[in-house]
Amino acid sequence: MSYKIKFKGPESLSGKEFTYCPGCHHGIVHRLVAEVIDELGIREKTLMVAPVGCSVFAYEFFDVDGTVAPHGRAPAVATGMKRAMPENVVFTYQGDGDLAAIGTAEILHAANRGEKITTIFINNAIYGMTGGQMAPTTLLGMKTTTSPYGRSAENEGYPLHMAELLSNLPGVAYLARTKVNKPQDVLKTKKMIKKAFLAQIEGKGFGMVEVLSTCPTNWGIPPVEANKWLEENMVPEYPLGVYVDKVGDEK
């Protein structure tokens, strides 16, 4: 009798310790992306574009060629890469400030062009890196360091639903919104991430997975409770599910 490993960190992570706060979902999603890269056998041809945000170091955490785009511009950087290297697999990893505020134009146009890239979108309803300011995805009434009285619709408008917005674009081949606050969701999310990569690999178009995520530090809620807060507050605002799937099921 001997022990056989059932669950172990993926090869496509570099092994460097993550710089994220305790309990931050960025780490879970990193691991899922790396597992998918392992399973698809694409590590040696994957090019990663990290954003500006807490995941600015993501390019260090993956064992693939990587760079950091200017804040919000990862989809444009990825477009340039993919057009230069169509045989490679290119993905961006972006926060909600990065993708849904400063980089709204770039993500929309990359998706609309059906750019054959994959985007992992971490929606934690806040600007993590800069200390908890309001994001376009911040919930109504939610207090942040720049909405100290709570976000109001009159002054700041409404939480921006990127998945719904992009789902209308014909260039999108796979699009889903998910969460990783429970083990079952983590497994579901991995399948979605895989499909978002397959959308690119099979030449079908743009793929994106929006992951509702916690920011325990700037929410001011400890990790375990933050998982519950996400369930109770973010999920009702941001409906989960598959919005576009032109990939189909694995054979």
Partner: protein, 351 residues
Amino acid sequence: MAEKVMVKGTEAIGEAAIRAGCRLYFGYPITPQSELTEYMSRRMPQVDGVFLQAESEVAAVNMLYGAASTGHRVMTSTSSPGYSLMQEGVSYIAGAELPVVFVNVVRGGPGLGDIQPAQSDYFQATKGGGHGDYRLVVYGPESLQEAVELTAKAFDVADKYRNPALILADGMLGQMMEPVEFPEFRDLSTLPDHSSWAMQGAKGREPHKITSFDINEYVLEQMNLRYQEKYKKIIENEQMWEEYKTDDADIIIVAYGTMGRIAKTIVNMAREKGVKAGLFRPITLWPYPYEALAKLADQAKLFFTVEMSMGQMVEDVKLAVNGKKTVEFYGRTGGVVPTPNEVLAKLMELI
């Protein structure tokens, strides 16, 4: 030798880029360079290249960043407001040490300005533009033939130093028709090999990481010092200028680009009046040929800088002359091109 063909300025630069091995172009329309973007949209598919009209100059410059990180020759062209919009990306590209060729067909400014030729983006081109301690190699061609040659050179220099380069043209150059002799098509297999650093997939090697940052200030300082070492080499090796009738000149007109070309006429008009004028025409605006210009300070009585701006390069002329002789200035701005007669009149006033 290839024969001369009549071409329009913007198209000459586009064709020169393609012949230099550029197969990726990302751009956004803006007068007076839209013809170059249009030309690339026609030509790139013919040479199996990529043309993509970006959603903005912000997107375009970042597409360049991405494509250049893979080690390919890439280019964009724009005009003043568009180049302003690109500055964050230019700074990232300089910091990440990516070879990219930019073309700024300068128009009147500030703000929306107008679409007439100008030289009022000199500070932006040569002294920064974006944030941080960085430099672009900047070329100021006076003719289409020179623009063609400098475009090819810009790609080579960008590759050699892993540094962005900029062709600073103006609407006059962009719109003129002139006979040009193009170089042969560069055999793509002879282009510099960037596989030692480029993002092409970590197959059988450690992953390549391309960034313009480090959160440790001492490491970032070291990165900056490394850039400075590179800039020093560029200063040593890459200065270009033209001297026209300076041998016996005691009046040195200093002008670049379109204005430099017009200044040759002014030199000859002055000489007809018995004034021994000559022209010093910087071709690289960075690195600026300070020493070559300084050498003329012993023989000259007066330096006279002429620009299509309210006086930007004149500061470099003063740096070069270093108080040894008087440096005078004449310029028109907002897209107005000084005529030889008005510049000559001003010169005659000065002496």
